[in-house]
């Protein structure tokens, strides 16, 4: 994350205009500029205030544009905002909007942002992402969500049609980075007021993005057409984008091979075969999620896990390399930190168990367990809970096998997703499989999870850890702070890390402009083009 030194950056002006990616030298564009991508499921909402999932966000990035947008590497570049100023105390941002139109030809105004943001925090909207405005520290967001203030009192004002002023409750170094998120997109006041909940239908939905909604057959297909009213339409090559729902990954792969799709996820275990067969199509890139087994350290948790030596022994003896290389086989990496290895500005601590040979780790684990009074003769009995999924099951069985010889007897407990999350949030588990995906490209997106007041399902708590993260909020150089935080996690073992995700896809080589360097895998259809084969 880029951190702005607020005392000196009185008036930062964004220099680089956002231009869509252009065909490189020697590439011939295909006549038919279409891109068809795979959706695992139906898109649940096209309302920026109500969207909660990744597929919805992908669609919204085509249909709308926020104050900021991202380039292919995920760096923030201007979207609707042309430039901005920030006050000396870091609490007031004033954005100047560019001349841009909605897809119905009317101008995008500052009031559209005011309307959209107020709508997100209005209790009657029932936005699950209302908390995002709190994360952004927009003034009064918390009070409005709690029903203590009127939505009109939110810290966002239109000074005139093209000037937007945002007031924050605290200096927020990451504020600009929050502005490409779908929750912050403007919505057309007139359309929403006229059609209510139905405003997101084809023919009714009006957006300010590079594409318009041509059709939406829920759970079957969604089609986007290039929007001629988009301010940068001259630089958009792609004409039609289709999202096709295929509920089964293996069938989706078959349909990719039949030429019906241009991109599809590779089912677990098939990457080695496909990358050998189709080296120009099978792609594995780091993806900002981490997988772990969380220990319940709350009062409801088992006694054995309260002994740090037991937890450490479990972390030491978990053979992540086998799990990654033999089970997942898709370019994932064994994890020795909670923060994904590829996160910006993150440096993994040195000298931990990552550097020990596996035999030495098992030996050390045996010693620790013995000290704690356990062993094959006197085993620790614990339950590992995971939600229904073939990979979770295989990994859990592997973990069970690694732990058994040491005298850790694991009972596997498979539950459906809703039960799993419910139990996690109520501390009704012993050990639970968990994964977290980065909201933004900085280590705090992971580490905040273990704060005493974080999601922290296992209820681990450490004062130094909390202080480090608080300090990091305004620090210029966060790398040592985050490294230290990871050292604390490694020492106290509130969870054992398993692996860091990779995104493993088949991509039609004719499709260019899909980001491969972007850890969050956000992509914009306006950057894509198809070359002639």
């Amino acid at each position: 994350m880029k951190r702005f030194v607020l005392t000196t950056a009185l008036a930062a002006t964004l220099a680089m205009p956002a231009f869509a990616v252009q065909p490189a030298e020697g590439e011939t564009l295909a006549e038919n500029q279409t891109y068809t991508y795979w959706l695992l499921d139906a898109i649940k909402s096209l309302d920026p205030a109500k969207n909660t999932d990744v597929e919805g966000s992908d669609a919204l990035r085509s249909l709308f544009e926020g104050l900021m947008t991202e380039d292919a590497e995920g760096n923030m570049v201007p979207g609707v905002a042309e430039d901005y100023e920030v006050s000396e105390d870091g609490l007031t941002y004033t954005f100047t909007l560019r001349e841009a139109n909605w897809s119905d030809g009317s101008p995008v105004t500052a009031d559209d942002f005011v309307f959209a943001w107020q709508r997100v925090v209005t209790p009657a909207t029932a936005s699950e992402y209302a908390w995002y405005m709190e994360l952004m520290n927009v003034a009064n967001a918390t009070q409005i969500i709690a029903g203590e203030m009127e939505p009109a009192e939110l810290g966002v004002r239109a000074l005139d049609d093209r000037t937007l002023e945002v007031t924050l409750t605290a200096p927020t170094p990451y504020f600009l980075n929050t502005l490409s998120h779908a929750t912050t997109y403007p919505v057309p006041r007139a359309v929403v007021e006229e059609h209510g909940d139905n405003w997101t239908r084809p023919g009714t939905l009006v957006g300010n993005g590079a594409f318009t909604l041509a059709s939406h057959n829920l759970g079957v297909e969604i089609v986007f057409q290039k929007n001629p009213e988009y301010w940068d339409a001259d630089n958009v090559v792609m004409e039609t984008v289709r999202g096709v729902t295929v509920n089964d990954n293996n069938v989706a792969l078959t349909r990719y091979q039949a030429g019906e799709l241009d991109r599809v996820q590779i089912p677990a275990g098939q990457f080695p075969r496909l990358s050998e067969q189709f080296p120009d199509q099978a792609v594995s890139v780091p993806y900002g999620c981490s997988y772990a087994y969380v220990f319940n350290l709350s009062d409801k948790g088992p006694e054995a896990l309260k002994d740090q030596r037991v937890r450490e022994a479990m972390a030491l003896s978990l053979n992540r390399e086998v799990m990654v290389d033999q089970i997942l086989q898709g370019g994932q990496r064994a994890a020795y930190t909670w923060t994904h290895w590829a996160i910006n500005g993150f440096a993994e601590p040195e000298g931990g168990m990552a550097d020990m040979p596996y035999e030495a780790r098992v030996e050390r684990a045996r010693e620790l367990l013995e000290e704690a009074g356990y062993g094959p003769q006197n085993p620790v009995r614990l339950t590992l809970q995971y939600n229904t999924d073939e990979n979770h099951r295989l990994l859990a069985i592997a973990a069970q096998q690694f732990w058994r010889p040491l005298g850790i007897e694991i009972t596997l407990n498979n539950v459906e997703w809703a039960v799993h999350t419910d139990r996690l949030q109520n501390q009704d588990f012993e050990i639970a499989r968990y994964a977290w995906c980065a909201d933004y490209n900085e280590a705090s997106t992971f580490l905040d999870w273990f704060r005493t007041d974080g999601y922290n399902s296992g209820k681990w708590s450490n004062a130094e850890f909390d202080e480090l993260l608080a300090e990091a909020r305004t620090a210029d150089d966060t790398t040592p702070l985050y490294r230290r935080a990871e050292e604390i996690l490694a020492a106290e073992v509130p969870a054992t890390w398993v692996y860091h995700y990779a995104k493993v896809d088949m991509i039609n080589p004719a499709i260019r402009g899909l980001p491969r360097e972007n850890l969050l895998n956000t992509w914009y259809a306006k950057d894509l083009y198809r070359v002639a084969e």
């Binding site: 029932a126 969500i145 829920l218 809703a418 419910d422």
Partner: protein, 307 residues
């Protein structure tokens, strides 16, 4: 007969009400809710959502409001998981899809199944019988979750004849694979029931009498044997028809039809209470209706049955 139908319809209403109350209570007992996700929502946000969807009310009140809205406004409420859509809209979009491929599969299963069964029974213990039995056993042991991906592999990837999934009301090529995958195992069951029932009827006294009178064999079969032989088939077909037209989660998943079979299962997993209730009521009402229809058909086919 008319009185019987009226009585049955009168019982249907309390049955449906009971179904609603029972499902509602069971649903609220299931752990988790529509808004439990990867990250726990801040309490204020959750409170707003629950207030908006009426989940903060006591259970009896929620049930009352729910039934009231259905009876007075025919409104099955908003979806919790698809916030842009109402349940009416979701069912109106998904049900015609499953109705189309379900009804087609039903017709295919009945026509082929009954024909196979009859052929097998008439030429009992001949190669035709063995072939028919072989086909129906083959169709039975190949479950649709195996058959569906196989069909996609063969017709989409190898022969490039059919689209590998999706749905269009204007293009029958989207219907073919769902119909094959859904109808085969039903066809097999129908063939087996028809065959055994037909064999039984063919051995009965009235058939022997008909033959003794010198009646042509095709008349014996079509007039005197087929009709009574259909009784067990029809009692099987009533619930089968309902389950076919309300969709199959397997078909919906493998062919991504957007039908309500998958919507139903998803709604249970996602705790999308309103969608789950809506589809439950739809399936409940159709089941009651078709069971009634089967009973009426019975009386028509078998004069011995009187209500």
């Amino acid at each position: 007969m008319f009185g019987f139908v009226l009585r049955r319809l009168a019982v249907a209403i309390p049955t449906l009400l009971l179904l609603i109350v029972f499902s509602f209570v069971l649903m609220s007992l299931a752990p988790g809710g529509p808004f439990t996700g990867e990250r726990a929502l801040p309490p204020a946000v959750l409170a707003n959502l629950e207030a908006q969807y009426g989940l903060n009310e006591p259970l009896w009140r929620q049930i009352w409001n729910y039934v009231w809205n259905i009876v007075v406004h025919f409104d099955f409420g908003p979806s919790f998981v698809y916030p842009d859509r109402s349940v009416n809209e979701l069912i109106a979009a998904g049900f015609p899809v499953t109705l189309t491929y379900g009804a087609l599969s039903f017709v295919a299963a009945v026509v082929l199944g009954v024909s196979l069964g009859v052929v097998a029974a008439i030429w009992h213990n001949s190669w035709l019988d063995y072939l028919a039995v072989g086909i129906s056993i083959g169709a039975q042991v190949l479950p649709n979750f195996v058959m569906a991906p196989l069909l996609v592999l063969v017709f989409t990837l190898w022969y490039r004849l059919l689209p590998g999934g999706g749905w269009s009301f204007n293009d029958p090529s989207f219907w073919i694979m769902p119909v094959i995958a859904l109808s085969t195992s039903y066809m097999a069951s129908i063939a087996r029931i028809t065959r055994s029932s037909m064999l039984e009827v063919l051995g009965s006294n009235h058939i022997r009498t008909a033959r003794a009178k010198g009646m042509p064999e095709h008349r014996v079969i079509l007039r005197h044997a087929l009709k009574p032989a259909m009784l067990p088939v029809i009692s099987y077909l009533g619930p089968v028809f309902v389950s076919m037209i309300t969709g199959s989660v397997v078909i919906d998943i493998y062919f991504s039809t957007g039908g309500i079979g998958k919507a139903f299962v998803d709604s249970a997993l996602n705790r999308d209470y309103a969608v789950m209730m809506g589809v439950t009521i739809l399936i409940g009402a159709l089941t009651i209706l078709f069971n009634l229809l089967v009973d009426v058909l019975y009386a028509w086919i078998d004069p011995k049955i009187r209500y």
